[in-house]
């Protein structure tokens, strides 16, 4: 990354830290339970599925595309898991099958965007509907429960001896992996190149189609994984699992400093944004605000995170003109 982009990212990340601290302070003033260990556990466990989906979405948006279908892939994964489990198939078979389904869904997105040349907005809007629709075809209105103990322990419990929920551990490992890939590997370099200048990337021998398809497949697999985790956490497979998640996931990425037009963004920023939203929601929940009403705040954050920098840029671009009217001294 260029030094200028690096400097701006650091500034954005600092802003996020300030915002996080501000929300924590706000939260603790709203409720005495806020700073307790069990609340922290609650907070993070509610967050992890969305957090896991935000990681590949960050890469996709940096590469100049978008994936709105993540929440529906989660739902489809949950439905497929429930369906196959209810058929009597063992979980060690079901879970990989569901992940493969996720990869297939991602592949469809990828092919439609790269081969058919369709805009990812429309494609993933279509698959947002299609995958959720398929989920309700697969499982209908019913829910599947009766999961093995180890499965629900994984979704709901902590790593033995610690206060760390298993899903948090999974997320932490994934986040570190993504951080590594984006910052230090040739894959990350190609992703940034594609995002900053797709034409130049193509003219430099980068297989843009292959990379984008790979990213969509990755998003599909991780959305399916999130579906498995959510099913374990709720001990219930439902076709409507994850409905409404897309808001938080997209907001995490854009609030995290990833540029909606591509080419810029960091994993650190996204992780910070994930927790900013998590803390915000948690605080509002403790203040008796319903999740649907909380979305007003998150939706506003989404809009502001994109509108803010644009407005700041336009204001600062308008300023220097005043200085130019000063008379120039003759030499």
């Amino acid at each position: 990354m260029s030094t200028l982009a690096l400097a701006l990212s650091r500034r954005w990340e600092s802003l996020l830290v300030i915002l996080l601290v501000a929300f924590i302070v706000l939260g603790s003033s709203l409720s005495p339970f806020f700073l307790s260990g069990s609340n922290f556990s609650d907070l993070t466990s509610n967050l992890m599925e969305k957090a896991i989906m935000a990681l590949p979405l960050a890469l996709i948006i940096i590469a100049g595309e978008i994936d709105l279908s993540v929440e529906s892939m989660l739902g489809l994964a949950s439905a497929l898991l429930g369906f196959t489990y209810a058929l009597g198939w063992p979980l060690w078979l079901d879970i990989p099958l569901v992940l493969v389904a996720g990869a297939t869904g991602g592949l469809l997105n990828g092919l439609l965007v790269t081969r058919a040349g369709l805009p990812s907005l429309v494609v993933t809007l279509g698959t947002l509907a299609l995958y959720r629709g398929l989920a309700s075809v697969v499982l209908g209105p019913r829910s599947v429960s009766g999961w093995p103990q180890w499965f629900t322990d994984f979704g709901f419990g902590d790593v033995p001896g610690t206060l760390i929920p298993w899903p948090l551990l999974v997320f932490a490992v994934l986040a570190l992996a993504f951080l590594f890939v984006l910052n230090r590997t040739w894959i990350g370099r190609q992703i940034y190149a594609i995002g900053k200048n797709k034409e130049a990337a193509r003219y430099s021998g980068i297989d843009v189609a292959k990379m984008k398809t790979f990213l969509f497949i990755l998003s599909g697999v991780l959305s399916a994984l999130a579906g498995v985790i959510l099913t374990a956490r709720f001990s219930s497979a439902r076709a409507d699992n994850g409905q409404g998640f897309v808001l938080d996931v997209v907001t995490s990425v854009l609030l995290g400093g990833v540029n909606i037009f591509g080419g810029e963004g960091t994993i650190v920023g996204v992780v910070l944004a994930i927790f900013v939203i998590g803390v915000l929601r948690n605080g509002l929940t403790l203040a008796d605000v319903s999740p649907d009403t909380q979305s007003v705040a998150v939706g506003a954050l989404l809009i502001l995170s994109v509108a803010g920098p644009t407005l700041v840029r336009r204001i600062s671009a308008a300023r220097p003109r005043r200085q130019l009217t000063k008379p120039v001294s003759n030499s």
Binding site: L112, A116, L118, L125, S136, S290, G299, L302, I303, V306
Partner: protein, 346 residues
């Protein structure tokens, strides 16, 4: 010193472009004819399986179902023509439906007042969308994804778990949806009127042509002096107004409204618009096409019900249709572009 060719790329591109536009108008007409053909095919196939399908009362049902979506689709078309999208329409319809119903329930306003407030609310919400997109320059997907949840959240806030039921509403209000004008249900007449007016304005007014120009080539439109941002703002206002009207009529039609009303409507509307041949890249498509698309989708929905197929397929079908329609459009466009390139030059 380089030499400039008389037949420079810009000139041949322009000629090719004019040819492309004329071809696309032809394609639009073909598209509308195509939808009618598919519609005919669906009607024939389903009638063979279930003769009940082919009746005036059933068709009336279909058109009634379509009328609300068609009204919203008219507004969405206006926005999509400018190369934008409005994902918040479902939330606007739901919020307006609940708000007007609540105002009537609490006897705060009379029917006329509630309708006025409902439409004004739709207009205002549309204006807010317009501000975010045109002034703050937030891309429409992000802006309206955000407002989708903000407006729905506000709906939940004012609803607070309660709902408005048909018993709470005055007969005059409910009567709007169940009444008829010259034998045709009011809803259908209203939808048809709105569609005809919008279609006429888009096709024949200067503003309409400017909207098409913005969608075709935003940069060129700016250069030529078209007030793009102002027009885009206007398009979102129109879309919000249409959603507001639909919201008022929704309350009249369904009576019971809770905070979840019209959830997911945006997907149905976008599917209708896209099937109707409105190009998601902007610049081409017609209101007539969008309405036909809505009718086709409603017919398929009705057919599924009559054939006792699971209604759970509806959402999946909407999604698949969006993909198919956009894919086919892109293929057709690409095909025509290649032909023009090959015939335009030696």
């Amino acid at each position: 010193m380089s030499a400039q060719a008389i037949d420079s790329p810009s000139n041949s591109a322009l000629a090719g472009r004019l040819g492309l536009e004329r071809t696309l108008t032809l394609v639009a007409r073909l598209r509308e004819a195509g939808i009618l053909l598919v519609l005919l095919a669906v009607v024939v196939i389903v009638t063979i399986q279930a003769p009940l399908f082919f009746s005036v009362s059933n068709f009336e049902q279909i058109l009634l179902n379509v009328s609300l979506i068609a009204i919203v689709a008219v507004g969405q078309t206006t926005v999509v023509l400018t190369r934008n999208v409005d994902l918040s329409v479902g939330s606007v319809v739901g919020l307006v439906a609940f708000a007007s119903g609540d105002l009537l329930k609490e006897h705060t306003l009379g029917v006329a007042g509630a309708i006025a407030v409902g439409c004004a609310l739709g207009l205002g919400l549309g204006a807010l969308n317009g501000l975010i997109v045109a002034v703050a320059r937030v891309p429409a997907i992000v802006a309206t994804l955000g407002t989708l949840y903000v407006y729905r959240g506000l709906d939940f806030l004012i609803a607070g778990g309660k709902q408005v039921s048909a018993i709470d509403l005055p007969h005059d209000y409910l009567g709007i949806a169940s009444s008829s004008v010259l034998g045709i249900p009011t809803l259908i007449v209203a939808a048809a009127l709105i569609a005809v007016v919008a279609a006429y304005l888009l096709r024949n007014s200067g503003v309409g042509r400017q909207l098409y120009a913005i969608g075709s080539n935003p940069a060129a439109a700016e250069v030529v002096g078209i007030p793009t941002q102002r027009l885009i703002f206007g398009a979102f206002v129109v879309c919000g107004l249409c959603a507001g009207v639909a919201g008022v009529l929704w309350g009249s039609r369904f009576g019971s409204v809770n905070a979840l009303a019209a959830s997911g409507l945006e997907l149905q509307v976008i599917a209708a618009v896209v099937v109707g041949g409105v190009n998601i890249f902007g610049g081409s498509g017609t209101v007539v096409g969008a309405v036909l698309g809505a009718i086709l989708l409603a017919t398929i929905e009705n057919a599924l019900r009559i054939l006792h197929l699971s209604e759970f397929w509806l959402l999946a079908i909407d999604g698949a249709i969006i993909l198919l329609a956009v894919g086919t459009d892109a293929a057709i466009r690409g095909y025509f572009q290649r032909i023009l390139v090959r015939t335009g030059r030696r």
